[in-house]
Each structure stands twice: as structure tokens, then as C-alpha cells.
């Protein structure tokens, strides 16, 4: 499944916001985007079409997004469709309600465009088990294929271990951003990562030996002291 091929429905009563988000998504490469500006319109579109992602505003002129989502869920229309609430309500209560209903994320306005895209992609990856696996990662003269777990450099090929694969995947999904030690650990050890920081350091060292030209002086996989790691863009 191609990430950019999916049908996205945006529901918001603010036309400028709709066109802004639509433009943002188009620029990113998504091209099947439809919009609805109220509950009635949204209901009609959802029941007719097939969607892979719904972005839903909470305050709509003819009802609220929570109720609309519940109704759609009860009708079985969005059971497998990831839904992200986009709301101006930032209280914990509203956020917890949205997530409690089963939504995949709750993003409060105002949001940074980059943040919105990152979170949408994260939701899509989770929902459709997509990953950057489809893509190859190129770091200088090193090429990494996530699908096969191979690291190719200067004619020689090395295999990534499962943990190294997971680390590199997590970092490349957040390329250019710091990924904290804690979130790397919980990606590696989902059942509890307490006290496994030293293991993480060992895995990182092995990974660097495979992808960096000079592992003791890394260019791509850099340490942000005390905080975590970053895959430099």
C-alpha cells in the first residue's frame, strides 16, 4: 500500500483551514483529499466513499465531532479507518474523551504544519503497518534497505540485527529530530524498557560500526548528550 495513495477526508467548518490543510497534504504528496464542512456533509461522504484517513474537527456547526465519530462507529463506517481529531479544545478532558472514543490521535490547534504531517504519517504507519520499510535509506555512500535489513557500503554487505533495524527505523521516521532515549527504548522493548539504556548504547555502537565511516566520530547517527539520538538530515 502506498502511503500517498490513500483517500483522506477533512472535516472542519473553517474553509480557510480546510484549504490550508489540503494544500499542506497535497504538497507532501497526498492527492486524494476531500473536504466536508459539517456533520451532515461528512456523514454523507463517509457513508458513500471509502476512506483511509479522516481528520475531524470537534466543534462543527451542526453537531460535534465526538458525536459524529460515535455515530459513524456504531454504523460500522469507520471501524477500520484511522481518525484524528483536530480541535481547538486543549483541555485534558476533551483530549481524553477523543482518544477514549477510539480515535488514533488528538491534535490541538494551533499546530505546526510539520507536526501535523508527522503525526498523520505516524498514525497511518500504525494503522496500516506501513513503515519506512518500503524505502531505502541513503547515508552518504551507505545504502540501507529496510526490507531486507541489508547495509551496503563500498561493495560489502552487512546485515542489521533486529534491534539495530528498529533503532534505525525509528530514527529515520523522525529524521532531523531528536528521538529521546526513552522513546527508543520503548520502541525496542515494548514490554518495559526500564534500565535498558546501557543495552541501547551497545546497540547504537554496533549500528554505527555498520553505517558510519568513522564510528567513533559519527556523521549521521549523532548523540545528543543526555537526551537521545538524531539521524542527521
Amino acid at each position: 500500500m502506498n502511503l500517498f495513495n490513500i483517500n483522506i477526508l477533512l472535516v472542519d467548518d473553517e474553509p480557510e483551514l480546510l484549504s490550508m490543510v489540503k494544500e499542506l497534504l497535497s504538497r507532501e504528496g497526498f492527492y486524494n483529499i476531500d473536504i466536508a464542512s459539517n456533520c451532515r456533509d461528512a456523514t454523507a461522504r463517509i457513508s458513500k466513499g471509502s476512506w483511509q484517513l479522516v481528520l475531524l474537527d470537534v466543534m462543527l456547526p451542526d453537531g460535534n465531532g465526538f458525536e459524529l465519530y460515535e455515530k459513524m462507529m456504531n454504523m460500522g463506517l469507520v471501524t477500520d479507518v484511522p481518525v484524528i481529531f483536530l480541535s481547538a479544545r486543549d483541555e485534558d478532558v476533551a483530549r481524553l474523551k477523543g482518544l477514549g472514543l477510539g480515535a488514533d490521535d488528538y491534535i490541538t490547534k494551533p499546530f505546526l504544519p510539520e507536526e501535523l504531517l508527522l503525526r498523520i504519517k505516524a498514525v497511518l504507519r500504525r494503522a496500516y503497518r506501513l513503515s519506512a520499510e518500503d524505502q531505502n535509506l541513503v547515508l552518504g555512500d551507505t545504502a540501507i534497505s529496510f526490507a531486507s535489513g541489508e547495509v551496503i557500503r563500498g561493495g560489502s554487505t552487512q546485515m542489521l540485527t533486529a534491534k539495530e533495524h528498529a533503532i534505525l527505523l525509528k530514527l529515520s521516521e523522525n529524521r532531523g529530530r531528536i528521538v529521546t532515549i526513552d522513546s527508543l527504548c520503548s520502541a525496542l522493548w515494548p514490554d518495559g524498557s526500564f534500565g535498558l539504556e546501557s543495552s541501547l548504547i551497545v546497540h547504537i555502537r554496533h549500528l554505527r560500526e555498520k553505517i558510519e565511516e568513522d564510528p567513533s566520530n559519527p556523521r549521521y547517527l549523532v548523540t545528543v548528550r543526555g537526551l537521545g539520538y538524531k539521524l542527521v538530515k
Binding site: E14, E16, L17, M20, V21, E23, L24, R27, A88, R89, D90, E91, D92, V93, T108, K109, P110, F111, L112, P113, E114, R177, I178, V179, T180, I181, D182, S183, F194, G195, E197, V224, R225, G226, L227, G228
Partner: protein
């Protein structure tokens, strides 16, 4: 402070006014009722005795005296020392008999066969003046002097104090309810404004961000970046305003749970660095050896806001750039953990540090530019019963320590 002073003045005025109205009302009602009460005995002893005269060993009443008794609906008699009636006027039939010593003792103070009577000792004998049945209520009071003294000097002051307390509490209660209602309205209003401002801000930030990514027009891209940055500043201001008013009036629902201090710090700081593209800021993050697993009971949202505000403060006041240190350490003596956030920037005047270190929250206007962000930090600290200290970081720079 000004507001507090005004509230106290307001309250005292209300108290005095309530007390005044209460006293005036009571006095007026009392006086009016007293004025309305008629004299039970409109005929005096002297007046009656003057109208009684003796003629050949018998007593008579003048015509005027008779009229007076009739008008007042009273009867009268004189009993001699042997208990015989030697004169009477309008005396009911059933009372016309001889009176024993016991009879006299019985009616002296109360009633004579249910007729309310008064007795006077005159030179002619015992004068008894009485009224109609059920026309007067009589009661004799008898109290122990010790008890009266106790009442005057012990119970009365307590009674007085209780009255004063009631007088004090009623206006306090009214004032409190009134203030609470106003505060609730204010918090709701701020929440409403902050809600309504979010969508326009999203548009401003989003559009500015998309212009800033157009490489062909560098000048406009830079301007757009500035707009986006200012938009984000407004966001944080609004969020602070909202948090501050919710914390002030206990309106927020901030649930506390166990947080890993190191992990929470890492998350907030990484988030700030990820969002902040300016390279003139350097971050130095350190967790003291062995403190990686320290936990604290706190609200996650408020904890993040506190750290964000402190780092934001360093960034805002050092546009030329600075090194920001974030440190989690331990104070052995106090057995407490300390989060220290400091920079090597321009710092602040000592006067500001003194103001910041005062126990009560200084109002935003008095903190000048450091305003609401640091105020919210202090509110969050007090919400969690932590400690806080602001100081100059060495020769220059701003340093904040939070004692968990």
C-alpha cells in the same frame, strides 16, 4: 496586592454596613413595639386613694374616681387587717368574701381567682386593684445573684462574641460566593477567548510556515518565519494565561500521576530543540549519576509547561543566543531532588530576583517582561508543593532551581 487591599476594604465596608442596618432595624422595631404597648395599670395608687374618702367610718369613691375605674375596666377594694373588705368598687361577685392571710399571700403577686391584681399597702388598709380575666400576663422573675454575675461577666461576652462572629461570617460568606462566581466567569471567559483564538492562529502559523519554506523569495521567507514565530509566542501566551487562571481559581482538572523526572525532562527538552530551529542556542542536558529512575507525583501537562516556560524565558531574553543548562541533581542535606535550569545570557536585575523569590505570586505587571511565564511556573510549583528559587547565574545569566 492592590486587588487584595481593595477586597479587604470592600469587605470591611460590607461588614459595617450590614451591622449598621441590623442594629438600626432592631432598634426601630423595638422602639415601635414599646410605643405600641399600653399601660397595664392606667390608674395609679395615689390617684385612686385621693378619690376615696371616709364618711362616718365608711369609705366612698368620688364620681370622677368611679368613671376612671369604669373606663379602664378595673375593679378595686380595700381590705383591713382582719381580712374584711371595707370598701370596694366594681368588684366581681365571687370575690366578695373575707380574705385569710394565705389568700392575701397567694394573690399578692399573681392573680386573684384568675383576675390580674396589684396590691398596695395604704394607711386605710390593703388596696387591691384588679383587671378583667385574661387581660394581663404576669410573671415573677427570680434569679440567683451568682448566676446573674456569671451571665454578665462570662456568658454575655460570649454571646456578644457569637453575635459578632455571625455578623462577620455572613458578609464573608456573601463576599466569597460573589468572588467565586466572578472568578469562575473570568476563567470561563479566558478559556473561551483562548479557544476562539486557536483557529485563526493555526491559519497564521500554517500559512506563514508555508511561505517561509519557499526558497525563491528569501526576504519574504524570513518575514514569514518571523510571523510564524510570533504566532507561536501568542500560542504560548494564551496557554499560560489559561493555565494561570485555572490554577488561580482551582478550575482546572490536573490529575497527578507518577512521572519519571529524567524521562519527562528529556521529552520536553527534545521537543523544544526539535521545534526550535535557531542555532544560536546550545543545550546542555545533564542527569546526575544514579538519578535516572527518580519519580515524582505530578501532572504531566503542568510539568512540561513549567520546564517549557523556564527554557522559553532564557530563549526570549537572549536573542543573541546562549547556552541553556538543564540539570537534575540531588541535595543530600535536604534529601531533595533539584531541577536546575540556567543560562549564561543577560540575566536580570537583583530587584527582579527579589520579587520573584517572594512567597506570594507577584502579579505579571510587576514582573515586567518576565511576566506571565514565570508566574505560571511559580503557580505550578506551589500546586505540587515544591520549592523554587531564582538567582543570578554567576556573573550573568538566569538560574532557576526547583526543589522536588
Amino acid at each position: 496586592m492592590k486587588r487584595k487591599g481593595r477586597n479587604i476594604a470592600h469587605f470591611v465596608l460590607l461588614l459595617v454596613l450590614t451591622a449598621g442596618i441590623l442594629v438600626a432595624c432592631n432598634g426601630a422595631i423595638f422602639l415601635y413595639m414599646m410605643g405600641q404597648w399600653k399601660n397595664v395599670m392606667p390608674v395609679s395608687e395615689a390617684q385612686l386613694m385621693n378619690s376615696i374618702y371616709e364618711n362616718k367610718g365608711k369609705y366612698f369613691i368620688t364620681d370622677e374616681g368611679r368613671v376612671v375605674l369604669e373606663q379602664a375596666d378595673l375593679f378595686a377594694m380595700i381590705i383591713d387587717n382582719d381580712g374584711n373588705i371595707i370598701w370596694s368598687e366594681r368588684l366581681p361577685e365571687n370575690l366578695k368574701h373575707e380574705y385569710t392571710l394565705q389568700d392575701v399571700a397567694r394573690f399578692t403577686r399573681y392573680y386573684l381567682d384568675d383576675y390580674p391584681v396589684r396590691t398596695y399597702v395604704t394607711e386605710k388598709g390593703l388596696l387591691v386593684i384588679g383587671g378583667a380575666r385574661d387581660s394581663v400576663w404576669k410573671y415573677t422573675l427570680e434569679y440567683d445573684m451568682g448566676q446573674i454575675r456569671a451571665m454578665l461577666f462570662q456568658q454575655l461576652p460570649i454571646l456578644f462574641l457569637m453575635n459578632a462572629l455571625v455578623l462577620f461570617l455572613i458578609p464573608l460568606f456573601i463576599q466569597r460566593n460573589w468572588a467565586l462566581k466572578k472568578e469562575a466567569e473570568r476563567t470561563e471567559w479566558i478559556a473561551g477567548v483562548s479557544h476562539d483564538i486557536r483557529t485563526p492562529l493555526t491559519l497564521i502559523i500554517g500559512n506563514a510556515d508555508s511561505i517561509s519554506r519557499q526558497p525563491e523569495d528569501k526576504e519574504n521567507a524570513e518575514r514569514a518565519r518571523l510571523i510564524s514565530k510570533q504566532g507561536l509566542k501568542i500560542c504560548s501566551l494564551i496557554a499560560n494565561l489559561n493555565t494561570s487562571s485555572k490554577l488561580d481559581y482551582g478550575m482546572g482538572c490536573y490529575e497527578k500521576k507518577r512521572l519519571s523526572v529524567a524521562a519527562s525532562l528529556r521529552e520536553v527538552v527534545a521537543d523544544i530543540i526539535n521545534r526550535n530551529s535557531d542555532e544560536q542556542y546550545e543545550f546542555d542536558f545533564k542527569i546526575e549519576e544514579g538519578l535516572g529512575d527518580v519519580t515524582v507525583k505530578a501532572n504531566e501537562e503542568l510539568f512540561s509547561r513549567m520546564i517549557e516556560n523556564l527554557i522559553g524565558n532564557s530563549i526570549r531574553h537572549n536573542p543573541e543566543g546562549c547556552i541553556i543548562h538543564i540539570f537534575l541533581g540531588k541535595i543530600e542535606k535536604k534529601k531533595k531532588h533539584v531541577i536546575c535550569i540556567s543560562d549564561d545570557g543577560v540575566g536580570a536585575e537583583n530587584k527582579l530576583f527579589r520579587k520573584l523569590n517572594r512567597k506570594h505570586h507577584a502579579s505579571a505587571e510587576k514582573l515586567g517582561e518576565h511576566g506571565i511565564g514565570l508566574r505560571v511556573v511559580k503557580q505550578i510549583v506551589s500546586y505540587h508543593s515544591w520549592g523554587i528559587h531564582f538567582e543570578q547565574n554567576g556573573n550573568s545569566g538566569f538560574k532557576t532551581q526547583i526543589f522536588l
